[in-house]
Each structure stands twice: as structure tokens, then as C-alpha cells.
Amino acid sequence: MQKLGMGQAVNQALREEMHRDPGVFIAGEGVGVSIHVNPMLPTHGLLEEFGPGRVKDTPVSEAVIAGLAVGAAEAGLRPVVEIMFNPFFTLASDMIVNHAAKLRYLSGGKSRFPLVVRIKSGAGFGAGCQHSHNLEAWVAHCPGLQVVMPATPADAKGLLKTAIRDDNPVIFIEHMGSYFAPPMPVPEEEYLTPLGRADIKRKGRDLTVVTWSGMLGPAMNAAETLSREGIDIEIVDLRTLTPLDRKTLLSSVEKTGRLIVMHEATRTGGFAGEIAAVVLEQGFEYLKAPLRRVTGPDIPVPVSPPLERFYIPNADDLIAAVRELLP
């Protein structure tokens, strides 16, 4: 099987969908001519393959990039637009939050907005808080938006293809660390991965770790370390935050009786709180111990290497939390 980085998997999904459906186009800052020339990046080579009619480099104008997607989607195209870094989502947010998310509802279900907003996200590059700020909880808070955060290249490919074919807006957040992580197997053939379905990336019986995106790696490493001591961790990769796969979440907690939610985003108001609430409402009786969150602290992501390392949750943080919960 081919091995790809996440950017390459996204690239393959974009190519396949653009070949399949002439209504699919991409737009954003540097999606064609980029200041980063690297085959590991998601839009590499698309301009050459599909031309400037379908690969639209835009000015630095996030509001109209998002609005372009909204208007074009209503007219029947399938835009896949890119917001360069998660914090710049704020400039596009009126179009996404007040329009992409709401216009179908406002039309009484008559209009459709089949659009995808791809957003690059994640800390670990020394770029600081105006480039590294995970805002998935903001978008997950908006009814009308589906929030997808793949952790593996294979999931990224299948989920993005589904997202492009979906008739409702999808916010598709890619962790930049995954672009440059060691390539992983990705099926060559065409496949669609459903939205709203979590994936158990590791089966275990002692404790459930729910995570997504860039934190899957550290969580798997922690589980590996703990398995040498006979501690058996189950890892649920959420893949889509909304719609949320409550069934997989609750049945895992029912089995293990213990829950830790791990995400890179800051703590207060983070999506771990939503997971916790669902489990407390619908699975309280399963819990043998209090639940724990392993998250970024409530600070903007700092630049200095020791400070940024302090910010990013790691396997050791997760192991410490596991030890608190397991007797």
C-alpha cells in the first residue's frame, strides 16, 4: 500500500474529487503559487494539473474567501477553500458562522451549501499564538457546521472525499505536524470515510482515552509505554467533533469505566468539556473514577522552545493522568 503524509493524502483526495466532479474548485491564499514548495503540502501541484480556473489563488482576504465558498456553493459548485492558519479563521468567521452555518436553516431547508473550509492548525513550529491556536471548539459550538479533524493520512483522504460530497458545510482541520510526520499507509483505491463516526485506534480494557488530530500520536505512544506495565488503554479517535459519535464514546466508557480526554487546544471551553458532559449525562453509571482532561493550558501558544514545549500536551502528561485514575 502507498505510504503518504497527511498533506499528500489530502492532495490525493482533492485530485480525485476534482477529476470526478467538475464543480469542485479550490481557492485560498497560496493554494496555487506557494511560498512553501514541498510535495508534502496539501495543494502541491494542483495548479499545474487543474489550471488557474479551478485552483484560485486569492488576495489576502479571508472574509471573501469564505464568502466565495458560501455563494458559489449555493449556486451549485463544490468549493474547497483554505484558511492558511487556524487563527485567521477569525477573519472568515462571519461568513462561516453567520452564513455557511445558518443559511440552509434560514431557507427552511430549501438551499444547500456543499462547501468545505480546510484549515491548517496546530502548535509546534515556534510560530507563536497568532499562527498556532486551535479553535475547533468555536466551530463545533455552531449548529450547522460539521467539524472534521483527522489524525491519520488514511482518515484524512476518506473524510475529505466525503466532506466534499456532503451537501452541508464542513470545517476540515488539518494538523500541520501530520504533514511532516513519517508517511503512513493510505489505500490507493477510492473510498469514503463517513462523517460522524469515531474510530477505535487501539483496543483496551482499563481506560478510555478520547482524542483527535495531532494528539493521537502522543496518546498511542503513552498507551504503548503503559502496555509494558500491563495497563491496557483504549484509544478512541473522534475524527469528527460534530456530529459527535456518542455511541462509540459511551460504549467504550461502559467497557473501561475510566475516561481521559486529550486535546491540544486550551482547556477552558475546550471540546473535552463537551465529551465530559455527554458521558456524565448518559454514562455516569459506567464511571469508576473521575474523568480527566489532558489539554493545553489556558494561555496563548508561546514562541520560546521551552515555553512552547510546556504548552503542548505530551505522552508523559497523559501517563501521569492515567496513573491518577488507575489504582
Binding site: 472574509a63 515556534g126 507563536g128 499562527h131 520560546s304 522552545p305
Partner: protein
């Protein structure tokens, strides 16, 4: 208006320090794990920061963007504190929190450097409003790139600043590129300064590689602002010699274009003029250069010898 010899020498000195500072960074950022983040310099654009800040008083403010080093040095930031911050050290001007892209130096009235393109403009509106509100005879300068003029914030800010006649100078540093896009690939307007009229403020076009010309334009705009006659948009036409950042191979920039602009080096231009006019001697020029090198070497030494912040210092400065 004639620019005095002393002023010209000062503009030149500032530009040379900026260039040497950048030269050091371009080397340092290639060393693994030396400098965190993306390195963005502004070689060839030194006349903009130097000329504009040369026209300001210490109490005037600047708000600058991701390409800030020249502006901050020209405004009088301490090179040691900047360099240490760029290294991510505890002794940096922001204790390692901001790094190269968000250097905040409130001590010299450069309170905010933002990497969010277009974000300097609304903040500058607020800073200028405070000056007007307090009836201070001061101005705020807002630096931004040609690309930033495509953000909605540009339009909202120019409109409000003109409406309220704020003491503000909008300095569009048009370096002909916004990321990988050439100027005419991102806007139809030939001169960014033309947009000023649409908001009811004067627009000026100035050769951005001519430091005394930039200085004169800024002085005129400053005079207008402090006399209560509102904002000005100054478009400084210049050129980005390198890629967007130091890791950008910038194949999209024609090599002969780069060469042509290198020939218009703002430092060489002013120094040659001063030498021709026999205002300075070659020896003085050499001395200025070695002085600047000394300043930068000292800054690098200071940064190298400084400690990193302790990890838990990350938690400080959020709420106070």
C-alpha cells in the same frame, strides 16, 4: 524642503543597522534549533522604516506587522532585547513569548506588532483616537504591506480614520509582493495611494528606496495630523529582495527583477549621494558600517549568553 545633513546621516545609520541585523538573522536562522519560527526580513526596504520613523517624535507611536525589524530598530528599539526575543530568551523584550514575529516594544511606543495581515490598521485607529481624545500633539503610524490593503480591515480603518480626522499616518510598504503573489496578481489598482481618495484622505506616492524622500513625506503627513487635519496614506514603492520568508525559494520572483531592485539599494543610494556631495568620507562610511556590525554582534552575544525562560513562565502574563 531640504533634509539636513545630520538627518540624512542619521537615516543612513539606521538603515545600516537594520541591514546588519537582518544579515545576522539570515545566517542564524539556518542553524538548526537556533531561532524558533519563521524568519521574515526586509532587505532592500530599509528606507521605509528609517525615513518614516526619522520623522517621528519619541511620543509618537508605531504599530507594525510581520516584517517589523526595520521599523522597530528605526523607532529606537534596543537591538539586544530584540535579538534575545528572536532567540526566544528570557531577556528578550517579551520574555520569549513573542519571538521574531510579534515583537512588542511599548517602551518606545511600539506597543503591538501583529502578524495577522491587516490587523495593524484598526489598532492604529484606536491608538490615534486616544491621542486625539487626550488632545495630544502626537501621531500614530501604521505600517502594513500591499497585501494587507486587500483585507476588509484596511477599508474600515481608512474610512473611520478619515471620518474622525484622526492623527494617523497609514504607511503602505508596497514591496511588490504579498506572499507568492505579485502586486498585479492581487489588486487591479495601479497605485495603492489612489485608494486614499475613496475614503476622503490624501494619498501620497513616494520612492520607498529613497530615505530622505520617505522622511519628507512622513514629516508632511505628521504635520497634517498634528494640526488636526486628519490622516494620510503614504504608499512607499519598494521591493522585497528575498522570498517572503527565509525558507521561501521564491522562484516566482524573476531574477532580473531582483537584480534591478538590488541595484536600487536604499543604503547604497543614500551613501553614494552623501559621498558624492562630499558630506561624508569613505572612512566615515566604513566607520558607520563597522559600528553597526558592532551593535549587531553585541546583540547576538547578549542573546546567545541569555538563558531560556523556565517552562512554567509560560503561564505568566495572561491575566494580571
Amino acid at each position: 524642503m531640504d533634509v539636513s545633513v545630520e538627518k540624512k546621516i542619521q537615516l543612513l545609520e539606521t538603515m545600516i543597522v537594520s541591514r546588519k541585523f537582518s544579515d545576522a538573522l539570515k545566517q542564524l536562522c539556518k542553524i538548526k534549533d537556533k531561532i524558533p519560527g519563521m524568519m521574515i526580513v526586509a532587505d532592500g526596504q530599509e528606507a521605509v522604516g528609517s525615513g518614516v520613523c526619522g520623522a517621528l517624535e519619541p511620543d509618537d507611536a508605531i504599530i507594525t506587522n510581520h516584517r517589523s525589524h526595520n521599523h522597530l530598530l528605526a523607532k529606537g528599539a534596543d537591538p539586544k532585547a530584540l535579538m534575545a526575543e528572536i532567540y526566544g530568551k528570557k531577556t528578550g523584550c517579551n520574555k520569549g513569548k513573542s519571538g521574531t514575529l510579534h515583537l512588542a516594544v511599548p517602551e518606545i511606543n511600539a506597543p503591538c506588532t501583529t502578524t495577522v495581515v491587516g490587523a495593524t490598521l484598526p489598532i492604529a485607529v484606536g491608538r490615534a483616537f486616544a491621542q486625539q481624545y487626550r488632545k495630544q500633539p502626537r501621531v500614530t503610524v501604521c505600517f502594513f504591506g500591499d497585501g494587507a490593503a486587500d483585507e476588509g480591515s484596511f477599508h474600515e480603518s481608512l474610512n473611520l480614520a478619515a471620518l474622525w480626522q484622526l492623527p494617523l499616518i497609514f504607511v503602505c510598504e508596497n514591496n511588490l509582493y504579498a506572499g507568492g503573489q505579485r502586486y498585479e496578481e492581487h489588486t487591479r489598482v495601479t497605485d495603492m495611494a489612489d485608494r486614499a481618495g475613496g475614503y476622503g484622505m490624501p494619498g501620497m506616492i513616494v520612492d520607498g528606496n529613497d530615505a530622505p524622500a520617505v522622511y519628507r513625506a512622513a514629516l508632511e503627513a505628521r504635520q497634517r495630523a498634528v494640526s488636526g487635519n486628519g490622516p494620510t496614506l503614504i504608499e512607499c514603492k519598494t521591493y522585497r529582495w528575498g522570498g517572503h520568508s527565509e525558507t521561501d525559494p521564491h522562484e516566482y520572483q524573476p531574477r532580473d527583477e531582483i537584480k534591478a531592485w538590488r541595484d536600487k539599494c536604499p543604503i547604497r543610494r543614500l551613501s553614494e549621494a552623501l559621498l558624492d556631495q562630499k558630506v561624508i568620507t569613505a572612512a566615515q562610511m566604513a566607520q558607520m558600517t563597522s559600528q553597526a556590525e558592532g551593535v549587531v554582534e553585541e546583540a547576538v552575544r547578549f542573546a546567545e549568553q541569555s538563558p531560556y525562560p523556565a517552562p512554567r513562565e509560560a503561564l505568566e502574563d495572561v491575566y494580571t
